[in-house]
Symmetry: C2
Subunit: 381 residues, 2 copies
């Protein structure tokens, strides 16, 4: 391993792509005749294929969860703090699989890829996919790797929702379910924030009704606004106070509409840099996937009923200052699991970083998560 990469990194990794030529029927009743799935793996699959873990990504995540794509990479994958040799998800013990969900923009079929039937960008015509669709797609993917069951399915935020759906739809195929900073469904306020983000993108004249790629443009302003807004909901009020307070960028008020406060500068930077790495149609699609998630709705709005058949053992983790998916939303999940008489551990981490905490290696969080995963690994041998 190159000397500038940390010892506990998975090192240099590569995204691979599998093509699926079997048609996939989606919840919206549209069918994808064929599609690609981009993925990465870390660690080695053991002889009896019993140590495979699926990582599910959140709204703006992708398959690149750990390691570096090249020595020039400035940053590792989005969950490098949790995945690697000796880390909470220990790649010395587990074979870790991370895929870019359908509709994503990092190599899996999605709005920024070519629709094989038309030869043009899918753009706004890519169907709206649901968490259930993703799980079905991940199930097929699992079969293609000859994995018969997941030792664990793990995810935070929208990723945690996929974990729940796995436990519901394939109750015998996952041994452990780790649901972090998630919710059993979005609240009206959650949907409202998503709607403002969507309107930001769709009202940008450069959105061109979603056909911006064909027109060689990008709805930069709209996507930037959506990300700025998202970012506020990822941080807690406390975290923002600690990080920025009312600090002025130039030490004085400008009496104009340029940046006065550091927090404004930070948000503009976050918005701008996101535009360079994410697709606006994918953002729209993922927010709808979030809005639509409500697995209990098929079970008379009884989450316990939905989870009734699962054989998985659960770890539910929430963070005190998360107001996007507040601890109470995690407790709803835990209560349903207890009602369904499932095995569940719930830990609420005292953290002031808001929803973003799930991506941060907070010692107490990593210790709890790591020791749970150590037990999972020990059950393997």
């Amino acid at each position: 391993m190159p000397e500038t990469i940390e010892d506990d990194s998975v090192g240099i990794v590569e995204t691979q792509i599998i093509h699926f030529s079997e048609a996939l029927m989606l919840e919206c009743e549209k069918t994808l005749a064929e599609y690609d799935i981009a993925y990465e793996t870390y660690g080695e699959l053991n002889a009896d294929a019993s140590n495979a873990i699926l990582i599910c990504h959140a709204l703006s995540g992708d398959q690149h969860a750990a390691g570096y794509h090249s020595m020039d990479d400035k940053k590792p994958g989005w969950w490098d703090s949790a995945i690697g040799p000796g880390k909470a998800i220990d790649t010395n013990r587990f074979f870790v699989v991370s895929i870019n969900n359908l509709g994503g923009c990092k190599g899996s079929s999605g709005p920024n890829t070519i629709n094989p039937e038309t030869g043009a960008f899918w753009g706004p015509d890519f169907p709206i996919v649901t968490v259930k669709d993703w799980v079905k797609c991940q199930y097929r993917f699992m079969q293609s790797l000859n994995i018969e069951h997941w030792c664990a399915v793990i995810g935070g935020s929208l990723g945690g929702m996929q974990v729940l759906q796995w436990a519901i739809d394939y109750p015998d195929l996952i041994k452990h379910a780790v649901v972090i900073a998630a919710a059993p469904k979005l609240s009206a306020q959650n949907i409202a924030f998503n709607e403002v983000a969507r309107q930001s993108i769709m009202s940008d004249p450069d959105f061109c009704d979603g056909h911006y790629l064909a027109k060689e443009t990008v709805p930069r302003r709209g996507l930037m606004l959506a990300r700025m807004l998202g970012h506020i909901t990822y941080l807690s009020d406390d975290a923002m106070r600690d990080k920025f307070g009312r600090e002025l960028r130039e030490g004085k008020l400008n009496f104009g509409f340029d940046v006065d406060f550091q927090v404004e500068s930070y948000l503009r930077y976050q918005g701008r840099s996101f535009v360079d790495r994410f697709d606006a149609n994918t953002y729209l699609l993922m927010t709808k996937t979030l809005d639509y998630f409500d697995p209990a709705s098929e079970y008379g709005d009884e989450l316990a009923q939905a989870l009734n058949k699962t054989n998985a053992q659960f770890l539910v983790i929430s963070f005190t200052s998360d107001w996007r998916f507040a601890p109470e939303r995690s407790r709803e999940i835990t209560r349903a699991l207890l009602e369904a008489e499932k095995r569940v551990s719930h830990i609420e981490i005292d953290a002031n970083q808001g929803h973003d905490a799930f991506l941060i290696p907070i010692p107490h969080y990593m210790n709890v998560f790591g020791s749970y995963m150590k037990n999972v690994a020990e059950d393997l041998s």
Copy 2:
């Protein structure tokens, strides 16, 4: 009074305009050579001019606080629930004055009025005004009406900030200060939301660098987004759940980007209707006024010091579910007043309507407010 108007309404009212030809030096060090102030009054000034109350409006408010402009008006003024004969601010006892703040868009000099020096719309060249500027301007206005002191200055949200500034800048001229759902200064999160709203407006191509009126257009999309976002912060998560939950507009998911949930429909409606009644440059300006408010900054960041000279008696009101200016922010004000050994009553109203609660005639709120004001009225006679 026309028979279709309620008995406890102030009835048909009219906005008046006073022109001030004495130059006004602003905190930004620019000077307005002359300016107009639009205002309304309700009730009668008594013989010794001791019963005058100033109402201060919030971000999107104006001088039309109570009554109707015509028999065709569908809605009364924005605080009609609190102002009128027999109401909390009883117009049988008090002479109530409500002005449109400088920079507003309802008749006072502001971005949508003509700059007398150029003969063109002020647009983005209207100076950024501060709460301190407004209070100075309200002081001059008070002199023009021959009122020597306010029996009470009352306001909610940004209005409450003006009340605080009155108590600081003219400590002998206000007898009672009623500060509702306010904060001693904005948090980083508050500023962040304002910044996203501003960027929404300024990035709309129809904003034309603020010169949209001269170009006979309006940044509709940007102002709509700003209002949608604002609206989320005015309502509590609970209020949204009670009002909308996850109710679908058409009873089913559409698998498209049109409205699925009722809350989306509501927000779009709120956004659209705001565009027809508010000026985008004024919105920008008012958000900066909010961001800049920090009266303690001139007093070594000691709010108690800032309030040290005031002779006013305070009523501070906060609402449990308000997360824009949470109850804790009101408690900061109350603690500073106690530290400065001022007379203060603080009541926290159990209400699930969020920040908007201050505009809603919640019985407990109106009872407390009304009985405080009854005592104020009795002191007059």
